[in-house]
């Protein structure tokens, strides 16, 4: 089979529990190949169904986001036999995580810039949730800032839709935001104000935000070390 051979010669970038990510040249473009390999600890029929479903969901969510005007990697080719997704490599970019860390370390008065970034993220997530796309793994490592050649604002690109799905439920959107909140506050200490700005921007931009924020507040009361006394 062609794809496994191709992937065998490509550069492995990362391996996670779910799959492997490679870099390669494909049809003349720098490409990322995401391979969901077979899990032999699972029953084969279940494994095939799950892996196929996750691949399909990932690809559908990317397309839905793009159609709503949200930047996400362009998908070039999907092989449903080996469950590989060939997509655009976002060149010359840094993660939002790295950007925030380096901006904070530089200790200059870049508070305003970070707040504007937080507001942008809030707007984009509002758009995404209004399209009923749940990202599923919102962290600052899954958001890229693509630097453009001119001095224009860099493009904010969402990546890693591996756990994403389509849902209109405020609960699911609330949980999506909760995941981001937890990841944000643990990766970037002392950024509560920044995250608040993000949520404010989200609330302003999303048409369905009241229900979602209400659910977010409810979800925050659940979980570890939380009193469930109503």
């Amino acid at each position: 089979m062609a794809v496994p051979q191709f992937v065998g010669k490509a550069d492995l970038v990362k391996q996670g529990a779910e799959g492997r990510v490679y870099r390669a040249q494909f049809l003349g473009k720098p490409t990322i190949v995401k391979e969901r390999f077979r899990k032999r600890y699972r029953h084969p029929v279940l494994d095939e169904k799950l892996t196929h479903r996750r691949t399909v969901q990932e690809v559908r969510s990317i397309l839905r986001c793009r159609r709503a005007g949200i930047s996400a990697p362009v998908v070039y080719f999907v092989d449903y036999t080996s469950h590989c997704i060939f997509m655009e490599e976002i060149a010359g970019s840094s993660t939002v995580r790295d950007h925030i860390v380096s901006t904070q370390q530089a200790n200059s008065c870049k508070e305003l810039e970070l707040q504007q970034l937080a507001e942008r993220i809030g707007r984009i997530l509002a758009k995404m949730h209004d399209e009923d796309v749940i990202h599923g793994d919102l962290t600052t490592s899954n958001m890229l800032l693509r630097c453009s050649s001119q001095d224009t604002e860099s493009d904010l690109v969402l990546i890693d839709f591996g756990l994403s799905y389509i849902s209109s439920l405020p609960e699911d959107k609330g949980v999506d935001l909760y995941v981001l909140e937890k990841a944000f506050l643990s990766s970037h200490p002392n950024t509560n104000v920044l995250f608040e700005k993000l949520l404010q921007s989200y609330t302003k931009s999303s048409k369905k935000s009241p229900a979602v924020i209400k659910k977010l507040d409810e979800v925050r009361l659940r979980g570890r070390k939380r009193s469930m006394v109503g």
């Binding site: 049809l27 003349g28 690809v59 397309l63 159609r67 709503a68 080719f77």
Partner: protein, 168 residues
């Protein structure tokens, strides 16, 4: 002038694109293609954004042929079908295949060896002028091509749609 590329996933397979404008015998070429006398897909270049789009379609077609999962009956038909953003085969042919009154044609040939003799064979059949394939965007009718895709460059939107349409 023509553009040949090896498919990375199928290293013994090549895709060659040849572009013609001011074509006067589109009807005859279409008939020849249907009779099986031209071993290539005849594509309407006014619907194309660039050569990369054709490569993506051809790559997918070769892959589906190898795994026995083509939606159409021949490789050339599959290439034309893959260019379309929808899953309707007749619609794909109407929009991306050539019609009798067309004045430009892009011929796509999938072949094994390095030989390019067939390029001159095909050019001999076409009553028109050959153009460099990279000039295809000069023939594009962007109004026809633009659909709901709002994000970023048109080529990205088109290619992404082509790659994912089978699971929409």
């Amino acid at each position: 002038m023509h553009l040949t590329r090896v498919l990375e996933l199928y290293p013994d397979t090549r895709v060659t694109q040849i572009l013609y404008k001011d074509v006067k015998n589109a009807a005859e070429l279409r008939r020849k293609a249907m009779e099986g006398n031209i071993n290539g897909a005849l594509v309407n270049p006014t619907m194309l954004v660039g050569p990369f789009q054709v490569l993506v379609a051809a790559n997918k077609a070769v892959h589906l042929q190898t795994t026995g999962k083509m939606k159409t009956k021949t490789l050339n038909a599959e290439i034309i079908f893959n260019l379309s953003p929808t899953n309707n085969i007749s619609e794909a042919f109407k929009r991306f295949g050539i019609s009798d009154g067309d004045h430009s044609i892009l011929v796509v040939v999938v072949h094994k060896s390095d030989e390019v003799q067939f390029v001159s064979d095909i050019s001999a059949m076409v009553d028109g002028q050959q153009l460099p394939v990279d000039d295809v965007s000069s023939l594009s009718d962007f109004n026809k091509i633009k659909k709901e895709e709002k994000c970023g460059p048109l080529l990205d939107a088109v290619v992404c749609r082509m790659a994912i349409k089978d699971v929409l």
